[in-house]
């Protein structure tokens, strides 16, 4: 099976095959012989040429977050065909747009922008309260606020669109 993995800004072609209960994994033309076991939900034991690794894999909103050797990697995994379809189709959202979503469930305690406002990168947009903490959501780039979909006091779920910047 062929995959395209995106880690940071780099993409990697990865192929997985299985034989005799082991995996052969090719990452960018380097082949690895992997004895892999899932020993609890998301906790993997990998033996590769006698070296033992334990890797924790969490699928977090479509991105695999992998903890291994004290480091954390966020990796987008796509089956190759899907990747090709998506990238050939071009980015549908258009350049420069930002959709600010609630990263976790909580209550909106403050909204500091209105539709039509010009915002700078790093400017505070919304404050969301969860787990006893006030968390500020900021603009990742400059732009104009197209829509504000929430008001202070409102409860939101993870993934709800809060603000659209064009």
């Amino acid at each position: 099976m062929n995959f395209v993995l995106t880690s940071g800004s780099r993409t990697h072609r990865v192929t997985v095959t299985q034989e005799n209960g082991r995996y052969r994994v090719t990452v960018d033309d380097h082949a690895w012989d992997v004895d892999a076991r899932l020993t609890a939900q998301g906790i993997f034991s990998l033996l590769i040429d006698g070296v033992s690794h334990v890797a924790d894999v969490d699928d977090h909103a479509g991105v695999c977050v992998v903890d291994v050797g004290g480091e954390t990697y966020s990796i987008e995994v796509e089956e190759q065909t899907r990747y090709i379809i998506r990238t050939r189709g071009g980015a549908a959202g258009g350049a420069g747009g930002q959709t600010v979503k609630a990263p976790l469930p909580g209550k909106i305690t403050y909204v500091s922008v209105r539709a039509g406002d010009a915002v700078a990168a790093g400017q505070s947009l919304v404050v969301i309260e969860a787990m006893k903490m006030e968390n500020e959501l900021k603009a990742t780039a400059a732009g104009t606020v197209r829509e504000v979909r929430v008001a202070a006091g409102q409860a939101v779920n993870a993934g709800d669109v809060l603000v659209v910047i064009g």
């Binding site: 099976m1 995959f3 993995l5 880690s7 990697h12 990865v14 997985v16 209960g21 995996y23 994994v25 990452v27 380097h30 690895w32 992997v34 892999a36 076991r37 899932l38 020993t39 609890a40 939900q41 998301g42 906790i43 993997f44 990998l46 590769i48 334990v54 890797a55 924790d56 894999v57 969490d58 699928d59 977090h60 909103a61 695999c64 977050v65 992998v66 903890d67 291994v68 004290g70 480091e71 954390t72 990697y73 990796i75 995994v77 089956e79 990263p103 976790l104 469930p105 305690t109 403050y110 500091s112 404050v127 309260e129 969860a130 787990m131 006893k132 903490m133 006030e134 968390n135 500020e136």
Partner: protein
């Protein structure tokens, strides 16, 4: 004599108190909100009673309900833990009125010291040096602006009724003041039911050092030495140790003496903590007194061999402390790391959810004070603390090596945790050399990028295998039974919970 204790809290501190009670032969009553029926403290207590909806104000902060449940269950005492009502004088009074022993200081001492502005007035009277700032809460925004200018920027906004970093904001200029005040007041209201804040001159790169005190109802006050709590994020402690690498026997005696004087002046009884800031020139400033058990109390326990919750129970029952200052002996070194459900690489964003895989660190001199278990849910309604990982070693280097080993062992999946960032801090040269300050983490965080190379390859392999097995399992339609032995647990329901 205390026979049955209602624990008015949740999470790891509720289990900590229940464990101590069980060891003393004292029965325990847990309380739980609708979000906590399957919380660990409910399993561990002898009894467990529901107290309302998830929102703290409607359950864990509801004094009338707590008192009613305690009386109904026949409890004779209440332990407040930390947070929630632990420093709420009205709760201490309500317990006393209902004939329940409050396992903490007298209401009067909470008022005197729990209100941080009142505490500053006492410290001033006791001539304990302190950071310049207001000794009264600031009211409106205009008053705040005037006060801030008078104290001099940068200033720190602090919750008058709170602690634990909630309701704290650093302000470096006038322009930032309004937004910071608003968030600080809002957090303080949520956390402590009181939005009052005061201002303090901000000390640059300070060390945060605190002294544990124990006092009985017979006028006996001792200290158990200091804790170093300089590693913080968002003004909340992340790593604590005992002793401090910065404190020698002479400074310990000086800090301990100041702490005992403040406690005595406040008529303090039970366990409490006096916090100090130490600046780069080694000047010591009184900061505040926390009138409760601290989150980080275990590091003091591991080094002194004294069980602080047991001491609390004993003192609350009216018994003498039974320990003299000269009996307190410090052996070795202890470090605590807070494992929180937060994503350190996404601005410390809380990460509530279900713990789908859990393998805590264990073995020699490793202590896991946890409120969770595999399958447990970290609700979005409460703070992010999952567990406190504590290690002991004969010296600081040994304790650091042991903590590095323990963090490497500790596996949590389903929610993001602070474990990776804790591991990087513990491995950092500045931490190992004892070069600590409350800005430490802010300073090193940008350096904590993955190394790439072989580890990244391993991560890519693991991610690809996870997806490969997911697709293969999904395609067969008979995932669980079709999986080969090597993958036999791969397709438990609930795996990939994170993607729901």
């Amino acid at each position: 004599m205390i026979r049955k204790v209602l624990v008015a809290n949740r999470g790891e501190i509720a289990t900590r108190v229940i464990r101590a009670c069980r060891e003393q032969g004292i029965a325990t009553v847990a309380v739980y909100s609708e979000a906590d029926r399957e919380a660990l403290h409910v399993f561990m207590a002898d009894e467990a009673h529901p107290i309302g909806p998830p929102a703290p104000a409607e359950s864990y902060l509801d004094i009338a309900t707590l008192i009613r449940v305690a009386k109904g269950a026949g409890a004779d005492a209440v332990h407040p833990g930390y947070g929630f009502l632990a420093e709420n004088a009205a709760f201490a009074e309500a317990c006393a009125t209902a004939g329940l022993v409050f396992i903490g200081p007298p209401a009067d001492a909470i008022r005197k010291m729990g209100d941080k502005t009142a505490a500053r007035r006492i410290a001033r009277e006791m001539r304990v040096p302190m950071v310049p700032g207001t000794v009264e809460p600031v009211r409106g925004d205009d008053e705040a602006r005037r006060a801030a200018r008078e104290v001099g920027y940068p200033v720190m906004i602090k919750a008058a009724m709170g602690g634990g970093g909630k309701g704290m904001r650093l302000v470096r200029a006038d322009a930032e003041l309004d937004a910071a005040l608003r968030m600080a007041r809002s957090e303080a209201t949520t956390a402590f039911g009181d939005g009052s804040v005061y201002l303090e001159r901000y000390v640059e790169e300070p060390r945060h050092i605190e002294v544990q005190v124990l006092a009985d109802a017979h006028g006996h006050v001792i200290h158990l030495g200091e804790r170093e709590c300089s590693i913080q994020r968002r003004h909340q402690k992340l790593i604590e140790e005992c002793p401090s690498p910065f404190v020698d026997a002479e400074l310990r005696a000086k800090l301990g003496d100041a702490a005992c004087r403040v406690a005595k002046a406040a008529g303090y009884v039970n366990a409490g903590t006096v916090e100090f800031l130490v600046d780069r020139e080694r000047n010591v400033y009184f900061l505040e007194m926390n009138t409760r058990l601290q989150v980080e109390h275990p590091v003091t326990e591991m080094v002194t061999g004294l069980d602080l919750v047991r001491a609390q129970l004993r003192v609350a029952a009216g018994e003498p402390l039974g320990i003299r200052q000269e009996d307190v002996a410090w052996r070795g070194w202890a470090i605590e790391c807070r494992i929180n459900a937060e994503d350190p690489f996404a601005g410390w964003l809380p990460s509530p959810g279900t713990i789908t895989g859990l393998r805590p660190a264990a073995g020699p001199w490793v202590r896991d004070d946890s409120g969770a278990y595999e399958g447990a849910t970290i609700p979005r309604h409460y703070d992010t603390l999952i567990s406190k990982l504590i290690v002991w070693g004969p010296d600081r280097a040994a304790a650091i090596a042991r903590m590095a080993r323990a963090l490497d062992e500790y596996k949590v999946t389903g929610v993001r945790t602070t474990i990776p960032v804790l591991a990087r801090i513990i491995a950092h040269d500045d931490f190992r050399a004892g070069r600590l300050s409350t800005q430490f983490l802010e300073r090193i965080l940008p350096q904590l990028t993955p190394s790439g190379g072989r580890l990244e390859s391993i991560a890519l392999i693991a991610a690809a295998l996870a997806e490969y097995e997911r697709l293969r399992g999904g395609a067969s339609g008979q995932a669980a039974t079709a999986a080969p032995g090597a993958w036999r647990q791969a397709l438990r329901p609930g795996w990939r919970t994170g993607s729901r």
